[in-house]
Symmetry: C2
Subunit: 408 residues, 2 copies
């Protein structure tokens, strides 16, 4: 049990090291998905328009497609009379051509017939019985016509790499006929739990055992960061089993998150396995809770050992892993953990010499510390996030302004 923490890091240092390990080892990847299923995904490519939009000169109103000069001087007192030679609905076409003295009745959205360059709204016309129409006003050139390409020109940059695909942007892609699109692939994350005392939900709990929490909890947290995450099961914390399970899991995922049970055993074993198969970069972070955190790289894949205690595991995941994971998912290059400001409702004491992360509940402006021993899982039913108490600070007073780092 005498783990030596040779690579213990301060919090800020650990954040930087982990971000750099992600950047250096795991490149963002893309995948092609259907535009119809794209909500919430992130574009992996700049997108250029494939065609002019509208793809033709389009009538914007119901009315008559004319040569605008045929309307010049028209008024209610002195209308100009034209011959109606056809009727065009949206989606229809005609062989007929509009020439001087002639017009085609047209619906909104229809392609303008050859020759015509203005639409005169039906409200300003008087249809006669003999296939003719009186124009009661003058139309300007191109009146109520959207010119081909006036909305989007072919070859124009319409969406950018990194764009979040909301319904409006999906609409733009659909209008251009895109069926599929390249988006950031969700980072592949595996979660393994360890400990002789843990059992799976659905099993009957024998005395001395508890249900595994970290596996599926951390999996869901990784999902909330945009990852494709899966729980890979429980391993016993002996060297051979850990080595085998990790080797096997790294064939499937790019980031592997392990956590012990409540025992300290896994940290030691994980360190030795990482030393043999790869390299350890962090062994211990100077933060309460979460000292046993370990971070290593095996074949350009990250292996991170989280504390076994679920509250600690959740905090360490959020503080050190959520941000690089979210960036890898392409969600935001400038992604920062979400924070809110508020005031402490009670004084909290903190050990000097180590950063402390204090679990809190947020209620409007009120930031209420949750005091339970660090093993208390029930505190997670009400925790909204944590405040950081720097290692040089001994207490946060009641009423003191703090910044809360919110959980997903």
């Amino acid at each position: 049990m005498g783990t030596e923490f040779l690579k213990i890091k301060e919090c800020d240092e650990a954040i930087d090291i982990i971000q750099k390990l992600f950047d250096d080892n795991i490149k963002p990847q893309s995948e092609e998905i259907d535009v119809s299923e794209a909500y919430g995904r992130i574009l992996y490519e700049d997108v250029y328009s494939r065609m002019d939009f509208p793809p033709f000169n389009k009538a914007l109103k119901d009315g008559f497609a004319i040569l605008s000069e045929d309307s010049f001087g028209a008024s209610e007192e002195s209308p100009n009379t034209l011959e109606i030679i056809d009727f065009l609905e949206a989606g229809s076409t005609t062989d007929k051509k509009v020439e001087k003295g002639k017009c085609i009745e047209i619906s909104t959205g229809a392609a303008m017939p050859e020759g015509a360059e203005s639409v005169i709204m039906v409200e300003y016309c008087e249809k006669l019985d003999d296939g003719k129409v009186n124009l009661l006003t003058t139309a300007t050139p191109s009146q109520d016509v959207a010119k081909k390409g006036s909305d989007i020109e072919e070859g124009k940059l319409i969406l950018k790499k990194g764009d979040f695909l909301n319904p409006g942007k999906i609409g733009v892609l659909l209008s251009q006929g895109f069926e599929t699109i390249e988006v950031y692939k969700k980072p592949s994350v595996g979660v393994i739990s360890s400990g002789n005392e843990i059992m799976m939900q659905g099993e009957e709990l024998s005395y001395g055992k508890i249900y595994d929490v970290n596996g599926n909890m951390i999996k869901n947290d990784a999902v909330s960061c945009g990852a494709n995450a899966k729980f890979l099961g429980i391993m016993r914390d002996n060297y051979d089993e850990v080595k085998e399970k990790i080797t096997e899991s790294l064939n499937e995922v790019d980031v592997l998150l392990c956590s012990g049970g409540t025992s300290a055993g896994l940290g030691d074993v994980l360190k030795h396995v990482l030393d043999e198969l790869g390299e350890v970069y962090i062994h211990g972070i100077s933060v309460q809770p979460g000292k046993p955190t370990i971070v290593g790289v095996i074949d350009e894949k990250l292996v991170i050992g989280l504390p076994g205690n679920p509250v600690s595991a959740l905090m360490i995941f959020n503080a050190f892993v959520a941000q690089p994971l979210t960036k890898l998912a392409g969600i935001d290059k400038d992604f920062e953990l979400k924070t809110v400001k508020g005031k402490m409702t009670r004084r909290i004491h903190s050990p000097v010499g180590r950063m402390q992360y204090q679990l809190v509940k947020v209620n409007g402006e009120d930031v209420q510390p949750i005091f339970k021993d660090s093993g208390a899982i029930f505190s997670l039913s009400s925790a909204d996030g944590y405040v950081k108490v720097p290692k040089s600070v001994e207490l946060l007073d009641e009423g003191e302004k703090v910044e809360v780092y919110l959980f997903n």
Copy 2:
């Protein structure tokens, strides 16, 4: 083309009517899902704890399980010596009982052996060669022991109906052995497009046609509101086809969103079909854009006709449908459309007598109106939401403070 709008409503009235139609006709439903897949879902039931947690008196430290009285008076100068009768790891049990003068070596997380009620940390002990240990300090009763049920007592309310299942709450459920949980079922929404001019992506566009935007765009917007939404295809806007498609679709979904192409044809047909099969509650909303909106009920299912123009369809969906749909999904009983405050970067004019929704882009404090004719799909690539210009207001000046309703 002479649609009569007999049930035209003001915006606020329309919002209330649509909310009431949802409330009166469509009851929220639940479904059972795996806790391991629960991120982002909403609890449909209050959840009570099934068992005490921890389920046994649990050692919080590595050390020795003792009768605390055996440590009374112990110090470095004058240690108390106990016989070690067993070793307990987390997850293990023993038949042996701790009695006066005896102790069991114990790991963090292990169940306390019978008889013992305190743990004395390994740091305050000196292990001897002959199976004995010197205690160097006094332990208080229950020291470093989490009592059975101290974290969660059996039968206690631990999570509430309506709770958003974040990773922490999922952790609480896992600790209690839940494999599945009842959550709000995603509302079932279908989207149909209409218009003779629209074609599906992947088809080669013939002259005068455009690709359908509304179907999959509005489907994705419904997904963003927590719905299980699907695009049900394109219908031609003649009476028989619309009636058949709607009847058939309502077997599958609870909310049906239809939208025309750019032509005004669908509104008429939809009104007649709704009159025959059910009842029309809104026919026209006094808002620019979006006048042709129609809302009806057929057999306790909602049928909503959106404007054909994609920009209008998206705004009307967000302004009138997103909120009741999100509430039906259980996401938040007090759900309101997300808003941000800012200042207009340019003056905008608005027609008096009708509410106007002005599309805008938000950049920090700056709210920039997007001026394009209302058919301009490209405006959706940069639109963040809209500002409301009330019907009595003729202009919003540059620098004027406004509230922006954000799109999902």
